[in-house]
């Protein structure tokens, strides 16, 4: 089952605001700034937009964005659930809409003041009436297990126990991300690399996670313009093909607390995404030239490497220790600095970096990168894409 319209849709424009801890303006304004910047980069008039796509935990309704950019006829709009887990899914929907002829120009966006306006990582606040979702959080929040970091930490501890990974192994992910961020002028942590010693000395957030295992909440917006590959050829940017795009939720799936599976050290939903991406694209792990792996918290980068076959089960720590995430390693990873180093725009900034890598315009360019993997939120129902250079 790989009916995905491989290479039929392309990313033709990317746009973003600055990344900060206090944007000083509304989330909606961030959204329209990023959307129009992406369209300007693509050379497409905003009035041509007929599709908009985002994902939940974004407060900007499609129609508000649409009326502000002066849109006229919106034929396709969708919003995918589960926050950052959906970062790749809007591209899947955009590619499907474009290839089916439902829409001509679809803009995917993410915009928020998750730092200045609310604290995204501060914990779960239940709605006034009980729902299946709030009932779920009732098994954790009354015990103080109430933040994304804490939900990840529980799985991370078990991963360490079963596979012999250490806090330093998690730290090596943070160090390489911050190294890449240090040479990315857009990054919040531009020119601020860290050492493994600093990682180890940073305060506990939730043991076994140190502060420097956690991304920082950010204000900012990113937008991605998708149209048909055919039209892309006549636009001003080098087209970046959407070679594969998939979503995944798997056995006994929960929102960050899939603690009831036999093995809680795997990301089975990401394994499902990996299987689909490889089947759609006809590619294998060996064909992937660089990766943007979702890194809201460093520990989940390890099982992602295993889900995609870059390392065997439990062996991601060795893959990382060998320096394979570095620019000269086997799999240059998070060349923009990741969410640990650039900004936490729930994966959409990672998609933009994937586009730059394929175009050859990353500030930490991987020479000859032709196939780039971009993954979305981990520990939640998730998604991913493979972006590719036209032949």
């Amino acid at each position: 089952m790989s009916g995905f319209p491989r290479d039929q849709a392309a990313i033709v424009g990317i746009g973003a605001t600055e990344f900060s801890k206090n944007s000083g303006r509304s989330e909606l304004r961030l959204a329209v700034e990023a959307v129009t910047a992406a369209l300007a980069e693509a050379g497409i008039d905003p009035a041509e937009v007929d599709g908009l796509c985002t994902y939940t935990m974004d407060n900007n309704p499609e129609i508000e964005v649409f009326r502000n950019i002066g849109g006229r006829e919106l034929r396709f709009f969708s919003r995918i659930h589960y926050g950052g887990g959906a970062a790749g899914a809007p591209l899947q929907q955009a590619a499907l809409a474009v290839s089916a002829g439902i829409a001509g120009v679809v803009v995917c966006y993410r915009a928020m003041n998750e730092r200045s306006q609310y604290r995204f990582g501060s914990g779960y606040t239940p709605p006034p009436l009980p729902t299946a979702e709030s009932a779920h959080y009732g098994y954790y929040v009354p015990f103080g297990l109430m933040s994304p970091a804490s939900w990840v930490a529980m799985a991370a501890r078990r991963y360490m126990h079963e596979h012999g990974a250490t806090s330093e192994d998690f730290g090596r992910v943070s160090v390489v991300c911050r190294k890449h961020a240090a040479s990315n002028p857009r990054a919040w942590f531009y020119q601020q690399p860290i050492t493994l010693e600093q990682h180890q000395a940073s305060r506990w957030i939730v043991e076994p996670l140190h502060l420097l295992d956690c991304c920082q909440e950010s204000d900012g917006a990113v937008a991605i313009v998708v149209t048909s590959s055919q039209r892309a050829r006549s636009l001003r940017q080098t087209p970046v093909l959407i070679r594969a795009a998939a979503q995944g939720a798997a056995d006994d799936q929960q929102m960050m607390t899939s603690y009831y599976r036999r093995d809680i050290t795997r990301l089975t939903e990401m394994e499902l995404v990996a299987a689909q991406l490889y089947a759609q694209s006809g590619l294998a792990a060996a064909d992937i030239d660089a990766a943007i792996l979702y890194d809201h918290f460093s520990p989940f980068v390890l099982p992602q490497l295993e889900a995609f076959g870059f390392a065997g089960r439990g062996q991601a720590k060795d893959f990382i220790r060998e320096g394979n995430l570095e620019l000269n390693g086997r799999l240059p990873t998070n060349t923009h600095g990741g969410q640990l180093g650039e900004a936490y725009i729930h994966g959409m900034n990672g998609v933009a970096e994937g586009v730059r890598l394929v175009r050859g315009t990353s500030c930490n360019q991987v020479p000859g990168a032709a196939n780039v993997l971009v993954t979305a939120g981990t520990g939640v129902p998730t998604s991913g894409v493979i972006l590719a250079r036209p032949e």
């Binding site: 103080g144 126990h161 939730v206």
Partner: protein, 316 residues
């Protein structure tokens, strides 16, 4: 010179000088004011209100709670705002520059002696320090440190206070955040959401029983509760009471963020019950250093608020 540098320079011209006109307390130290303050603070120490108890403690009569030091000279509430003599020009400089938000960040008091009924307190506030521009969670701002000197009618020092505020530029969106930070309030222990599907679980906890859902058709146990058996799709179910024995499958020690009702660092366990299902709950009475995956634990219950029970585990 940039506007920001200019602002700091102008504000720092006040350093070492009085921040406002020195004030004398409107009322001498008195029992009614002490009573209201103790009621509000929940302070039941009798030496503040009962002369006999105060004498038994070695005082001549009742004494004021030391922490009331700055209460006596506080400006009265004026619906139209503070009087010109009460306003602090150094803070008004920041207001005028758009740093209209204010939040108290530090208070340190030193006491030279107890205050007795009839003492009249005098206060002078002096500007101690003005910070460079800082980026904080509330927004961009400057910390302003004030030193309050308190004296009696004779001019002798009775205490002093260091008081630091953050004057910040509040984006519109931050009004709620700023207010929440300035006015801490007690937050009840989080409640679970109770639905038709999980009411049995929380009712069981109230009765000190950890109930596990069991499919009435195929016998498979499941947790967290749900309406349908994922194995045989039956909607019929019963419950079995957990033995309370289990092992630690994983655990975390929570430092941030914190719930007001809990004690930190807080240990949270993922326990694999002897019956085969897993549950999340807190660990009672043990330091994290004793913990390891695989250790045996035993079920208990903890009353986190009157009438509100939660399951918890002890090392077995």
């Amino acid at each position: 010179m940039s506007d920001a540098t200019d602002l700091v320079t102008r504000a720092r011209a006040f350093v070492g000088k009085p921040a406002a006109t020195p004030v004398a307390a409107r009322d001498p130290v008195n029992l009614p004011a002490i009573r209201r303050w103790c009621d509000a603070m929940g302070d039941r120490n009798p030496v503040y209100q009962d002369a006999a108890a105060a004498r038994a403690a070695g005082f001549d009569g009742i004494v004021a709670p030391p922490a009331m030091l700055d209460v006596w000279t506080m400006s009265p509430f004026r619906p139209g705002g503070r009087a010109s003599t009460e306003r602090m020009q150094v803070l008004e400089l920041f207001d005028a520059a758009g740093f209209t938000g204010v939040v108290a960040t530090n208070v340190e008091q030193d006491y030279d002696r107890y205050l007795h009924e009839g003492d009249r307190v005098h206060c002078t506030a002096i500007v101690e320090d003005v910070s460079e521009e800082k980026r904080t969670a509330l927004g961009v701002g400057h910390f302003v440190t004030l030193r309050y000197e308190f004296t009696d009618d004779a001019g002798d020092a009775v205490g002093r206070m260091l008081f630091r505020v953050l004057k910040f530029r509040p984006p519109l969106a931050q009004a709620a955040t700023a207010q929440a930070a300035a006015v801490p309030k007690s937050i009840p222990h989080p409640r679970p959401a109770v639905t038709h599907d999980n009411a049995f679980f929380w009712e069981g906890i109230k009765a000190r029983r950890l109930l596990v859902q069991c499919c009435a058709a195929c016998g498979r146990l499941r947790h967290p509760p749900g309406p349908m058996c994922p194995q045989c799709r039956s909607l019929e179910w019963r419950t079995v009471e957990a033995s309370g024995r289990g092992t630690i499958h994983s655990f975390v020690v929570m430092h941030q963020p914190r719930l007001p009702a809990l004690h930190y660092p807080l240990t949270i366990l993922l326990v694999e019950l002897a019956e085969g299902v897993r549950v999340v709950a807190n660990l009672l009475e043990a330091g994290a250093q004793q913990l390891q995956i695989g250790r045996a634990v035993a079920l208990d219950f903890v009353e986190v608020e009157p009438g509100y029970l939660l399951p918890a585990f002890r090392l077995a």
